[in-house]
Structure formats: C-alpha cells, structure tokens
Symmetry: C2
Subunit: 285 residues, 2 copies
C-alpha cells in the first residue's frame, strides 16, 4: 500500500489510473479505523481495481468547542489496518494543502443540512460537502463508499452528487456494531467501559422501536414513539438527548406515522463530553 | 453540429469522448451569440478535439427584477453561428432538467463574490458557480473558455476551480469590441443607436485611464482616477454609475495606487433599463 500526502500527487495517480481504464473507489474517512471503516474498505475492494482511502480530519466540519484537537489520530496503526484489507492508496493530505491561504469556496445542500445534526452543528454539512467534493475531484473515483451511521451525511452527499451531476456512484454500507450493539465510532474511544454501557441506550431504543413496529396492528405515531424513546434515554445516567426523530429516509422530513421508508435517527451527549449518533430503518412487516 | 438537450445524453457523450482519449473544451454561454462568443468558440476549437458550447439562460443567477424573462433567445440563429465556427455540440438543456424539483445545492466563493457586481446582485455569483459546476460535470472538459468582459465572474470561477481541485484548465479570452469600442454584449440588443453612443462612455473611460497611466511620472491615486471617471460618466445623459473601481486583477481588492496588476472595472445602468459592464487592464509602461 502506498501512502500519498500531496494533492497533486493523488490527482496525477488518479489521472494515470483513469487513462488505463481502471475503476477507482474512494472511502473518505477521518481515520482512527475500526471495523466500520474496514467494512467500507472491503466493500470498495469488491467493486474497483484501485481503492483509495482518504484520511483527513477536516477542520471546516468542526464547530467552535467541538473535538477537532482531541480527535484520535494514529497514522501508523491506520496504515497497517488499511493495508490489511487490500487498500491501494492511503491518501492523507495536510490541512494547509487542503485549505491554503485564500481558500474561500463552500458547498451547501440547503434543506437536508438544516435539521437533526445540522441544527446543533451549524456549518457542519457545508464543511462535509466541501471536503467531499475536493476529495472526489482529487481522486476521480467511479464509486465512493459511505457508512450509514452518518445517515444525514449520506443523504446530504447523495443530494450534492445528484444536484451537481457528479459522475460518481455513492454506495452506502450498513452500520457495523460491537457485540453489545453499540455502533462502531472513532468517538467510542473517548468512553470508559461504564459509559459505553450507558451509551447502549441508543441501541436499546432501536430494538424497542423495531419491536413496537413489528407488533403493531395499526400505524404508529412517530411523535409518540420518539417521546417514549426520549423518556427511556433520560433515565440513563449521564445521557442527554440532542434529538430523537423518525424521518423519511430520503428527504429527512419528519414522519407523522411510521411507514416503510421511516428511519429512527438519534443523537445524544454522554457525560456532556461525547456526542454519539445512531439510526436504523424501522421495517413495517 | 449536434444539438443535445438532455443532461444524461451530454454526460454519456462526454464519457464516450473521454474513453477515446479525446480532448474536450467547453464554452459556457447564455446564447444570443455575438462576435465575443464566437471568439471564445474559435479559441476552444484551437485547443481541443471536441468543442461543446452550452447555451443555458440560468435562472438562478438572475435576481428578482432582473431581465431573465426578457433575455434575448434564438436557438436557430445561435445554432447556425456555432456550426459556422466548427462547434461539435450545442448543449441546450431545459431549466427543469437542470433544476428538477428538490434541487437545493449551491456553491459560494465567499470573498470574490462580495463586491463589484456581487454587491448589487446578491446571489448572482452563487448561481454562476453552481451552474458552471454542473456544466463542467456534465461535459467533463479538459478546458473551459470564459470571456474577460465578465471579469469578476472569471476570477470567481478560477477560484472555485482552484479551491475545489477541479481537473479543468480555465482559459480566458480578451474582450471583443464593436468598431466603436463598445464591448460586445447580448444586452446591447436592448439599446437604440443613440443609447449605444451614450454607452460608449465606458470605453472612453478606459481610453482616458490608459492615457493617464501611460503619461504618468508618479504613481496615480486609484480613488482620484475613479472619481474623475464617475464624473465623466455622470455627464452622459441616461447613464448612471453602479460602480467604478480599480482593483487587483487576482483578488479584486481595491488598489490605492494604479500598478501593473490593476484592472479598471465598471458597471453602469443605461436609461434605468440596461445594465452594462466593461473593464480593462491599466498597463503601467
């Protein structure tokens, strides 16, 4: 596996691959790889001749007071993990190469970026769109793989790609969970074992909602279900709800009743320190 | 020459050309071709195997009360003119194909879009960036040719391409003028002969400024020169100054004194009806 750090070198390599008719896949990441990331890389490996994993902790998607400085980093460890699943290039550009002096362009997906995580993290999705656009242009992939854990991000990126006619296929991959059910996240490394146990309230909420939906004989009120879940989470020490919503999986608008396209989507803060997200499809059988 | 109207058809054609190793040039236009447009097309023809001219009156770059509905259109005439200079594809998508229901993505080049035309036309350059990005993605050109008459637009597009790492070369072409000196513009068709004569105040201002710079023995104050030009224009019946500025050609910031990178850049309104722009380099000999 090759480590590339300069954008011009990445672009040249991608152009060379394109010239040879090779199929390129990109997996954009912020590093500190866990099984979730590795699953995305394996998925990319299945569908492309060349797999590029970008590793870039993108400053413009962090707000003031967020965990940009604390975000866990270990290039050596990440290199070994990526090489182990057959990645061809680990692309890890520097902040100054990505955003040199004078940089001033941004991309906004107006409606999808507003609610959910966008409400509490203003500008976050503009930063995500902008960096993803740059990475797509630098690596020229035929497909790019994103995890469903960042479900709003996935919807925003799909919309950007569709609206701007980018010639890339966006592939999504299901959430990978610990044996306990906790969704894999680089931010889990901020948690003690006890806090991880508390954070399981997210997974329990998903199981609760799915059980309710499976047993339902008539359409369920999304608002009532969200209230019940919020109540459950409030009972867990140290957990504070940011939002609990049941939305349409495509336009992220609130559902009145749970239907076959509904998604339960949640964000909590654990011990005022660690923000965690989780989501799941609510299948109506 | 082929007329293409569907984005998916344009994308397929561009992908096919790319696959054959052909070099593609794009000339983005809003139609109603004049010699200025044809010069851009000839310039593209020199450097590419395939020349695409897009013709799209882009609604999202017009503000309320601007001339979107009145903008002159004649696809038949434009087709003949483009064919005459060797264009391969005239790409004329519809508004609903470019901006279908649910479209919500926009691109902003923050600093360069603020002053000059951006001050009087809020959102204009966001609309320009967004449509140019879409056209670039749909046509996948190796180079795109823009006229210098829209000098701020050129600077904004160059910045977007640079900031987002788009793999396309932006080529600029000097302003083409009528024999009288009036800069060619589709909007000149709104003017009577008498109004065209009045609109020549822009060209006279350029000649005045260039003469002053040529004869200068010490650095000239940009502010004083702009005041003199504004005074000249105010004396012309029916002409109202929107702005007259001398700016750095790269960052569009106001110059204190005229230097080798200064650009005189102006916008006026003729008889409260027609907005005209013009600009020129102020060479210090």
């Amino acid at each position: 596996m090759k480590l590339v750090q300069k954008p011009f070198e990445m672009s040249a390599l991608a152009a060379c691959w394109r010239g040879q008719g090779l199929k390129i896949a990109l997996v954009p990441t912020m590093g500190w790889f866990h099984e979730g990331h590795l699953a995305l890389m394996r998925r990319a490996r299945q569908s492309a001749d060349r797999v590029v994993v970008s590793l870039f902790v993108n400053p413009i998607q962090f707000g003031p007071g967020e965990d940009l400085a604390a975000y866990p980093r270990d290039l050596q460890r990440d290199s070994e993990l990526a090489a182990g699943v057959g990645v061809d290039v680990l692309y890890a550009p520097s902040v100054t190469d990505m955003y040199p002096t004078g940089f001033q362009t941004s991309i906004r997906v107006a409606e999808l970026s507003k609610g959910l995580c966008g409400a509490g993290r203003p500008g976050h999705f503009d930063g995500v769109c902008t960096v993803v656009m740059k990475l797509l242009q630098q690596t020229q992939p035929h497909l790019a793989v994103f995890g469903e854990k960042d479900f709003q991000q996935l919807a925003v990126i799909r919309r950007m790609v569709h609206d701007l006619d980018l010639p890339v296929e966006i592939v999504s991959h299901p959430i990978v969970r610990e044996t306990s059910g906790l969704a894999m996240s680089s931010r889990n490394s901020y948690l003690t074992e006890e806090e991880k146990e508390q954070a399981l309230c997210l997974y329990r909420a998903i199981l609760f909602a799915q059980a309710k939906v499976t047993g339902a004989v008539q359409p369920l009120s999304a608002e009532e279900m969200c209230s019940e879940i919020e109540k459950m989470i409030r009972q867990v020490p140290g957990c504070v709800v940011d939002y609990v919503e049941i939305v349409d999986a495509d336009n992220l608008e609130r559902c009145e009743t749970v239907n076959e396209n509904s998604r339960l989507i949640m964000a909590i803060k654990v011990h005022e320190r660690v923000r965690l997200i989780d989501n799941a499809r609510l299948c109506v059988v």
